[in-house]
């Protein structure tokens, strides 16, 4: 008898006769864009902890479950704490700032200088808190990446990277060198930008008066893409470098000082890369700068759909029952999408992410030919009703605001089947509609 509290069990069906009554520690693959419930993944043969015969209560997965729960509770705790710290921090900064600007009466130069120092430190706290909040949110159960087809050259254009609050004493130059012809990545563009921005921030921090930051990307084997962020800054010693991603590093004085600042920002980068199923590596030498290499998967429609189907099937199997495709579209009769429709699409995407449950999947939308198609796989029919309502609301608002006429390409379609092969056939049809219109030669 499996407990209902865990959302996933292993993809392999535990044969009757196996004694272990614990939930499996496995489920979902790492890099599926969301947090796994458990610490362990199935090994290469798809075996997981639930295949271990064991007496009640002594399975390793009990421990994993407890560990996961503790981690989740801590993430929730930290997220709430970070959130609550915002108001007092705001007041702190505001009042120091108000006095420093002379709004509470004239102040001497020395007073201004000291208040400036206080403000700078308040800003440092604010930045650390931001990082903490971001990091803990990503570690929470409910976090999901919003992965789409991303062209890296478009993402890393010069104007997406620079900072307004870059220290003025530093001379920072950027060198973005990404071939627009590279295959697209399958990534959450906002998170990816965030990761790169964090690396850039660190590069600026840990450098002298002038620094050059280079951003490049290239294809690598295994249908991956590699993003390189290189700087001409201080670099780091071998000890620091080797321990960069180790949680409880207690290295040299210099190393520790560096990590104290880098710590959270880098943790975020690693978290983001892990969620994408990628890898992060670093090369560095003292006084010779640092290079970070992030690997991410390329956008591969067929692979994404197949993996999603597998996941969906596992979840449905565990729940008992089928699942459904929801296939809806927003289109403009004029042809290309207007800004207000794009805004609506963005909103729909945001709301859909919030609406979906842990077992639902939203595929990256296709926006070929002046229409935007959303394809979802959901485990509950109530979600289709929500989607239908949402799209209708959006349609009405667009009509009201801009007079743009929005056409349904095809309304939400509930297809329910408990026959996996039948679902695979339907998936093939949708797959062809979804990506082959654009890719032509990739249709297979």
């Amino acid at each position: 008898m499996t407990e209902r509290s865990t959302r996933r069990s292993a993809g392999t069906v535990v044969p009757t006769g196996s004694v272990c009554t614990c939930e499996s520690a496995a489920g979902g693959r790492k890099g599926n864009g969301r947090k796994n419930n458990a610490a362990a993944n199935p090994d290469r043969n798809g075996r997981s902890d639930s295949d271990t015969t064991a007496t009640n209560g002594s399975c390793r997965s009990n421990l994993d479950r407890a560990r996961t729960r503790a981690r989740r509770e801590q993430a929730d705790f930290l997220a709430n704490l970070s959130h609550d710290l915002r108001s007092p921090l705001t007041s702190l900064r505001e009042f120091v700032s108000i006095v420093e600007e002379g709004l509470a009466g004239p102040i001497s130069d020395q007073q201004r200088e000291y208040l400036g120092i206080a403000l700078r430190n308040a800003d440092a706290i604010a930045e650390m808190m931001e990082h903490l909040l971001v990091l803990t949110r990503m570690q929470q159960e409910s976090f999901r990446l919003d992965r789409r087809r991303v062209n890296l050259a478009e993402l890393f254009q010069d104007d997406t990277l620079p900072h307004e609050d870059r220290p003025k004493e530093k001379d920072v130059s950027f060198n973005v060198n990404v071939d627009p012809g590279l295959p697209d990545a399958y990534a959450d563009p906002d998170r990816l930008l965030e990761a790169v921005r964090n690396l850039v921030d660190n590069a600026i921090k840990y450098s002298g008066d002038a620094v050059t930051i280079t951003i490049e990307a290239a294809e690598t084997r295994g249908s991956m893409l590699e993003i390189r962020v290189r700087d001409t800054g201080h670099g780091m010693d071998a000890d620091t470098r080797r321990n960069l991603f180790v949680r409880s590093y207690r290295g040299s004085q210099a190393g520790r000082k560096m990590l104290g600042g880098l710590g959270l920002g880098l943790s975020i980068v690693k978290e983001i890369v892990d969620l994408h199923g990628g890898r992060i590596r670093v090369r560095s030498q003292i006084n010779e700068g640092t290079e970070f290499r992030l690997t991410l998967p390329q956008f591969d429609a067929k692979r994404i759909l197949t993996e999603s189907l597998d996941e969906m099937w596992q979840a449905a199997d565990e729940r008992g029952g089928g699942f459904a495709f929801v296939h809806a579209g927003i289109k403009e009769s004029q042809g290309a999408l207007s800004p207000s429709t794009e805004e609506a699409v963005s909103l729909v995407r945001q709301v859909l992410r919030k609406t979906l449950g842990p077992d639902d999947i939203l595929l990256p939308e296709d926006d070929a030919g002046g229409a935007v198609r959303f394809v979802l796989m959901v485990g509950k029919s109530s979600v289709t009703a929500t989607v239908r309502r949402l799209l209708r609301t959006v349609e009405e608002r667009l009509k009201m605001q801009s007079g743009t006429y929005v056409e349904w390409e095809s309304g939400p379609t509930w297809l329910h089947s408990e026959n996996f092969n039948h679902l695979k056939e339907m998936a093939d049809v949708i797959f062809h509609q979804w990506c082959c219109a654009r890719e032509g030669k990739d249709a297979a």
Binding site: P88, L89, T90, E94, F95, L103, A104, Q350, R353, K354
Partner: protein
Amino acid sequence: MRRKKVLVADDDRDIVLALKIRLEAAGYEIVTAMDGKEAVESIRQEKPDLAILDINMPEGNAFAVLDELRDDGIEKLPVIFLTADTQEKSQVKAFHRGIRHYLTKPYDPKTLLVLIEHALDEKRRGAA
């Protein structure tokens, strides 16, 4: 030309004071409220040109305030949500209610002032 009147509603006394100091220095007339109920009364009586509302207030959060004032023509009042909440779902909810201006704490005072000008400007041009 008369000074523009801005309502600031937040249950945090310090934040209300900080905003009052800043905005008065920038030339606005300030009215304050410490909870949802006071905010509703203030808007009805004082008829501000713009309202800055913290989302999570007692006695009615910002959404409840907007609901309560629906019959008073609240749609025409420029509103800025100021909040510690960065969760997307609040932003989405705000969008649904037609709130375009959303600022999270800690806010940059310059940004807030620009946002206020922009919102008042929008209203003046009849776009809000």
